[in-house]
């Protein structure tokens, strides 16, 4: 425990020092190296742009739209992924029948569907959510399916010997056993959801941080692009942290070490 807190203190200090070095390098580096402002605007210029965008470009609205799309895509995609993961994990027949199609869909780059969805649904929030759902679906499904398959058969036999019904085996053994891999999938999904939404926004529409990215690019406003990237990172980070907070509540029974890997 002592060793651990020592590690935390040292690590935090080093982390903060690194942050300061990077920020200072960002502020003064471009000037020193003679890099033009439209390639890398210094930190202060990005911050000014951030304030300007807050005031006049509706930055918070765009961020809110993106965040809402991320949440919707993440939740729906995860639910669908988990559902199919459980079904395919428990039914070898379903898995055998569906696996070639699932594999094909998994290999296809999901973001390439964005233009198609926009053609179908127009410049609304729905195609963005749909791309996110598609991209979130697979890691969650695969993790859940593998978890169900890997449940110790002796554990299931134990429950059966105690005269458990199929439903009891699922709720008392398979479902709880699938939770750690499910959460590992959800962590990945939370960051992938942001990717899906941004690609959707880049392709079409006039709302969201992805739109600001494209808009800034069109205006050659590098600072605006930086602001959009930073805000996207914040949205993704919050989503990731939210998953971890829930995970630590749900999987509180695991030894601490198993949870620490952020």
């Amino acid at each position: 425990m002592n060793r651990n807190s020592w590690l935390v203190r040292r690590g935090t200090a080093a982390s903060l020092a690194l942050l300061l070095v990077v920020l200072a390098g960002w502020q003064w580096g471009p000037g020193v190296l003679g890099i033009p402002v439209f390639i890398i605007p210094p930190l202060s210029a990005v911050f000014e742009e951030f304030l300007r965008m807050l005031a006049v470009s509706g930055l918070m609205t765009h961020t809110g739209v993106t965040a809402a799309e991320v949440i919707a895509g993440f939740l729906l995609g995860s639910l669908l992924g988990a559902f199919f993961g459980y079904v395919l994990g428990m039914s070898p027949t379903a898995e055998f029948a569906l696996s070639p199609y699932i594999l094909a869909l998994q290999i296809a780059p999901k973001v390439a569907f964005a233009p198609l969805f926009i053609l179908w649904m127009g410049f609304t929030v729905y195609p963005k959510i749909l791309v996110a759902i598609l991209i979130v679906f697979f890691p969650v499904m695969v993790n859940v399916m593998t978890a169900i398959r890997n449940v110790d058969p002796d554990l299931i036999n134990l429950a059966r010997a105690f005269t458990a019904t199929r439903a009891q085996i699922f709720w008392k053994i398979e479902f709880p056993a699938s939770l750690p891999p499910l959460f590992a999938g959800l962590r990945i999904a939370s960051t992938l959801a942001v990717v899906g939404v941004v690609v959707g926004e880049l392709v079409g529409g006039n709302l969201g941080l992805g739109y600001l990215l494209a808009f800034g690019e069109g205006q050659a406003n590098t600072a605006m692009v930086f602001v959009a990237i930073l805000m996207l990172t914040v949205v993704g980070g919050i989503a990731y942290l939210a998953v971890i907070v829930v995970e630590q509540r749900v999987l509180h029974y695991l030894p601490p070490r198993a949870l620490s890997g952020v």
Partner: protein
């Protein structure tokens, strides 16, 4: 099979003739590759009387675990049948509980909740469940660990929790498949004594599979020896030693060595090195 009572020398107590667990002419074939059948056990008949502890020993793969799975209703035999309390075993039933080498504790359940697992599945009321689990934990000196999770316990404690879970459903028959082979030698002796005392106190009937000849002799009233596959019962040894509830004391009984030697002989130990470790433990 043949219904003679066994006299326990320490108490001159004649064991009941009531048969708790019986296998009648049980044969089990598994489908092997290319349409052949693999005969795991062949025409096995045995009976375990009320309160009796019988050990089953034999070479690896001789079908001991298959017999256990048939007894617990997980497998249906190809021929013959198993009976528990005179009822034909048609599937998993509440009269039988089994325990394996693996503790099979659920990591997301506390010790108390793990002990309640079986009775919970059998839909016993919450209060009764808790009462039974707590009583068992007290018995095994685990009460203070009721709220712990399995990963916080030692191997021996986990195995004790597994035993408590097995007993919580109050089965007529316990089927134990090498329950202590994964713990260290000292812990094993302690667990063996706890098991022996518990079985004696509760008057439980048990069929114990083990590789450890000394364990078989010190824990049981009878030892059955199985042959190589296809598994048949080739010998029956009555362990006429006092103090079945104290296997550690039994270890010192002079006749123990004779029983172990006879078992080694029946198992052709000289050819099969795999028993050397088990026999000396």
């Amino acid at each position: 099979m043949r219904g003679q009572g066994i006299v326990c020398l320490d108490e001159f107590w004649v064991m009941s003739d009531l048969v708790r667990l019986e296998y009648r002419n049980v044969t089990m074939r598994f489908a092997a590759g290319s349409g052949k059948a693999l005969v795991a056990v062949e025409r096995v008949s045995l009976a375990v009387r009320d309160g009796e502890v019988v050990s089953l020993i034999g070479p690896s793969g001789c079908g001991k675990s298959t017999l256990l799975n048939i007894g617990s209703g997980l497998y249906t035999p190809s021929d013959g049948a198993a009976f528990v309390d005179g009822e034909r075993v048609q599937g998993p039933n509440a009269h039988v509980a089994f325990m394996l080498q693996k503790d099979l504790l659920l990591p997301w359940r506390t010790v108390l909740e793990n002990v309640m697992f079986g009775v919970e599945i059998q839909r016993l009321g919450l209060l009764e469940r808790k009462r039974r689990a707590q009583a068992l934990l007290e018995n095994f000196n685990l009460a203070e660990f009721a709220g712990h999770y399995p990963h916080q316990l030692s191997g021996g404690m986990r195995q004790r929790v597994a035993l408590a879970r097995t007993l919580a459903v109050d089965p007529s028959v316990l089927l134990l498949d090498e329950p202590f082979s994964a713990v260290d030698a000292q812990t094993r002796m302690v667990l063996q004594r706890e098991l022996a005392q518990t079985l004696k106190r509760a008057g439980k009937t048990a069929l114990l599979i083990t590789h450890d000849l000394l364990e078989a002799v010190t824990l049981s009233d009878r030892v059955l020896v199985m042959s190589r596959r296809p598994g048949r019962i080739i010998d029956e040894i009555r362990v006429e030693l006092p103090q079945r509830e104290d296997p550690i004391a039994r270890r010192h009984a002079p006749r123990v060595n004779g029983y172990v030697a006879r078992l080694m002989d029946r198992l052709d130990i000289r050819q099969a090195d795999e028993y050397a470790a088990g026999a000396s433990a």
